[in-house]
């Protein structure tokens, strides 16, 4: 498709470029400057930070995309959040939040004037300041992008059940080499344009990672295009390094892409879901470290891996301060900021207003939008237990009936995520009210598969985890049902989410979000049929490392205790709740009243299995988990037989 070359009037082109320059200026300032923020004095070594920490390479590209998204948001009144896979481009996102005023609203000390700019620069990657990545501290972020690979899964998770939302998602070309990201492209087979929003993937093909070239930058153009067509997208290429040409091309492309998205949604919403659309995506091929120093120390820097972090890391080196001064001045800050240090009003106008600003979009502070679940009374699902051991039950099957009704009552803000284990973990009851979600081809023999299913099954624990995180971070609720052994696959993603919750919990303007709930079933003691590869109870060891304020681990011994714990978890906020429970028919110990009391206490004596009433026991038998509980009770019975 031939793109227009005049999407922007000369005036808008020049303003848009100025806005980009401003964001780039502020980004470089954050990385290098301790003082002299607007270069009112000749730049000296003393104006620089003693330690230079940050990432320049990805940042100008992120800023370029941001400025262009601002334009289409304003032009078409779009509701957009911005996810940056290469979250190490933190300075860019902070710069943009500052330019559009959000930053000073949430951090009044970082004001839109010269002093505020100095503090903005100083605080970046500085003790007592802010981290280098797009961390929870960054307004507009739901994705830190520290551990690479999860941008697309987070983006799709955010888009599910958010019909009005467009999630612009920058994918690093290095990030694209990770397993989770590679699978993430397939999320389009689960996105339903009738009731979900849109994800606009933007592959940031800047050619390099930290020190080497990227795979996708070194395959022929036709292979690259075929790859993304094969994933089911319509790729649009925006390639080059001449800013003016690139601005025109990007603007024209975003107009086309926006129209595509709207057309797809309009058709699906008018006529119902007919077939999986080919969603647009953008492949942005631009130099790494674009607009930075062409050379440093005689070595190519712009357009090279050398610009990944801080070009010219050692500023005491003769000539480096001069190169930096020239670089900063190339953005012509005096044309961008007025005498007081504020962004000039004709440029500030380019940013969207209020909650349309990507940095102030409430979807990126999901707690603001969070509604309580409408929960059925879990006691209604109780297994009748007249006396301990007097009934048989399958704990997770009973829990599945409860979950079924949670789905029924919360048809737009609760989903279940599982790597193809919903049935196997005995949550089959959910299929009485919903289906497995798929917008790909569905064949007559398929079992409960439909484009509007609420059960998100994909055989990628990474995808399940990432989708659920994105869904939770944008203010909804969910459950991840997984085999106990294979939840280890997302150990590291769990880590990252727990860190996010920990930090976010201490930021006053971030509102609490729903907890991340895991059901781990098909556990170690009942994987006798699958064998050693499927036997591993170690996820809870990983979880126990995390901050106490964040993690909860429950091992209910039977169905009624499982129901009580599940209800509790679905009401909780800002936690990671891990529930380990069996799915096999086993004796049930507690009636519902006793179960509620036991779960509320979390630990307790089972008097009917004890014989120390009134005196000190000779031995304490303790147990945790359904199978150990059964074995312990059997041991107690044997002890009574042998030692009456």
């Amino acid at each position: 498709m031939k793109m227009k070359t005049d999407a922007l009037t000369p005036e808008l082109l020049s303003k848009l470029n100025a806005y980009w320059r401003a964001a780039n200026y502020l980004s470089v300032g954050q990385i290098y400057l301790y003082d002299n923020p607007l270069l009112k004095q000749p730049l000296k070594l003393a104006h620089l930070k003693p330690r230079l920490l940050g990432h320049w390479g990805t940042t100008p590209g992120l800023n370029f995309i941001y400025a262009h998204l601002n334009r289409v948001i304003k032009a078409h009144d779009l509701n957009v959040i911005y996810i940056t896979g290469p979250g190490h481009g933190g300075p860019g996102l902070v710069a943009n939040a500052y330019l559009e005023g959000t930053y000073s609203e949430v951090y009044p000390n970082i004001s839109q004037d010269t002093d505020g700019m100095q503090r903005l620069f100083k605080q970046f990657s500085f003790p007592g300041g802010i981290p280098s990545h797009v961390a929870p501290e960054t307004p507009g972020s739901i994705h830190e992008g520290g551990e690479l690979g999860y941008s697309l899964s987070h983006a799709f998770g955010a888009a599910f059940d958010n019909p009005d939302l467009i999630v612009a998602c920058v994918v690093g070309d290095g990030e694209a080499e990770t397993g989770p990201l590679a699978t993430g492209w397939h999320s389009n087979k689960f996105l339903n344009p009738v009731h979900d929003g849109a994800v606009l993937p933007i592959l940031h093909l800047n050619g390099y990672k930290i020190a080497g070239p990227t795979v996708l930058a070194r395959i022929p153009h036709d292979e690259l295009e075929a790859l993304f067509r094969g994933y089911g997208y319509t790729p649009y290429f925006v390639e080059g390094d001449d800013p003016d040409k690139m601005h025109q091309l990007m603007a024209a492309t975003l107009d086309v892409v926006t129209a595509d998205i709207r057309r797809i949604q309009r058709e699906a919403r008018a006529n119902g879901f007919k077939k999986r659309p080919s969603w647009p995506m953008i492949i942005l091929r631009s130099p790494k470290g674009w607009t930075g120093p062409k050379m440093a120390d005689g070595k190519k820097t712009e357009g090279s891996w050398r610009s990944h972090q801080v070009p010219m890391g050692d500023m005491s080196h003769p000539g480096h301060v001069k190169v930096l001064a020239k670089w900063l001045k190339s953005y012509r800050p005096q044309e961008l900021f007025d005498k007081t240090g504020k962004l000039r009003s004709e440029l500030a106008e380019l940013a969207p207003k209020g909650e349309r600003r990507m940095s102030a979009n409430p979807h990126a502070n999901g707690g603001l939008l969070l509604n309580d679940l409408r929960l059925p009374d879990f006691r209604d699902y109780a297994v009748k237990v007249v006396k301990p051991g007097g009934a048989l039950g399958e704990a997770t099957r009973v829990q599945g009936e409860f979950i079924r009704d949670v789905i029924k009552r919360n048809s737009a803000n609760f989903r279940v995520f599982s790597p193809d284990e919903t049935n196997s973990n005995r949550w089959g009851a959910v299929f009485e009210v919903t289906d497995r979600c798929s917008t790909a081809e569905i064949l007559p023999g398929d079992d409960h598969v439909a484009p509007d299913g609420r059960v998100m099954e994909v055989l990628s624990e990474h995808q399940c985890e990432g989708w659920l995180e994105g869904y939770l971070l944008t203010g909804r609720h969910g459950f991840f049902s997984c085999y106990e052994a294979f939840i280890h696959i997302v150990d590291s993603m769990f880590n990252q989410h727990a860190k996010w919750l920990d930090v976010a919990g201490k930021i006053p303007w971030r509102r609490p979000i729903a907890s991340l709930n895991y059901l781990l079933s098909s556990h170690v003691w009942r994987q006798d049929h699958n064998g050693f590869s499927h036997q591993d109870p170690g996820f809870i060891d990983v979880v126990a490392n995390k901050k106490a304020e964040i993690v909860r681990v429950y091992l209910p011994p039977d169905a009624n205790t499982l129901l009580s714990v599940t209800d509790h978890c679905l009401r909780s906020r800002n936690y990671v709740n891990v529930i380990v429970a069996g799915k096999q028919p086993t004796p049930q110990w507690l009636d519902m009243d006793a179960a509620i009391k036991h779960c509320t206490a979390g630990i307790g004596i089972w008097p009917w299995a004890s014989n120390d009433q009134g005196g000190e026991p000779d031995v304490v038998m303790a147990c945790c988990g359904d199978v150990p509980t059964l074995e312990t009770l059997a041991a107690v019975k044997l002890l009574r037989k042998h030692f009456p």
């Binding site: 170690v524 050693f532 809870i540 091992l555 004596i605 147990c623 988990g625």
Partner: protein, 139 residues
């Protein structure tokens, strides 16, 4: 007999908001009696969580010690010494007051475990007394 639903109860109150106070912990677990702890996961986790408790030195944890294969459900616990017979043997080893009956009981337990291995090797499923085991309270 103590059952733990919320694992974080075991941690000191100073470390986890759910943690039991030392006083409550001592009341439940005593200050000096042996504790046989049958755990779902790796035994070290229980030690990690309880290492500061008064009676930690008497906690003996059974759990998954990386013994696994395709076998019967009961054999899984047997392989990891988490089964009822091992648990009773653990009690006998730690409670001296059980007296002369202990030797007979231990032998009976050992025989049961041998019987179990022979039975599953022949039949491919657990012994009926395991499969059909039921809790009953003494009258």
């Amino acid at each position: 007999m103590i059952n733990v639903v919320d694992l974080m109860k075991l941690q000191p109150q100073s470390e986890h908001p759910h943690g039991l106070s030392d006083k409550d912990f001592d009341t439940l677990f005593t200050k000096d009696k042996p504790i046989i702890f049958a755990h779902h996961g790796y035994p070290m986790l229980i030690h990690r969580l309880t290492y500061r408790r008064t009676n930690h030195k008497n906690i003996h944890v059974r759990g998954f010690k990386e013994e696994g294969t395709t076998s019967t459900p009961f054999d899984m616990v047997v392989m990891n010494d988490l089964d009822r017979f091992h648990l009773v043997a653990d009690v006998i080893d730690r409670v001296p007051s059980l007296g002369p009956r202990a030797a007979y009981a231990k032998q009976a337990l050992r025989d049961k475990l041998i019987e179990h291995k022979q039975y599953i090797a022949e039949h491919g499923e657990d012994m009926p007394e395991i499969r059909n085991w039921k809790w009953s309270n003494p009258k």
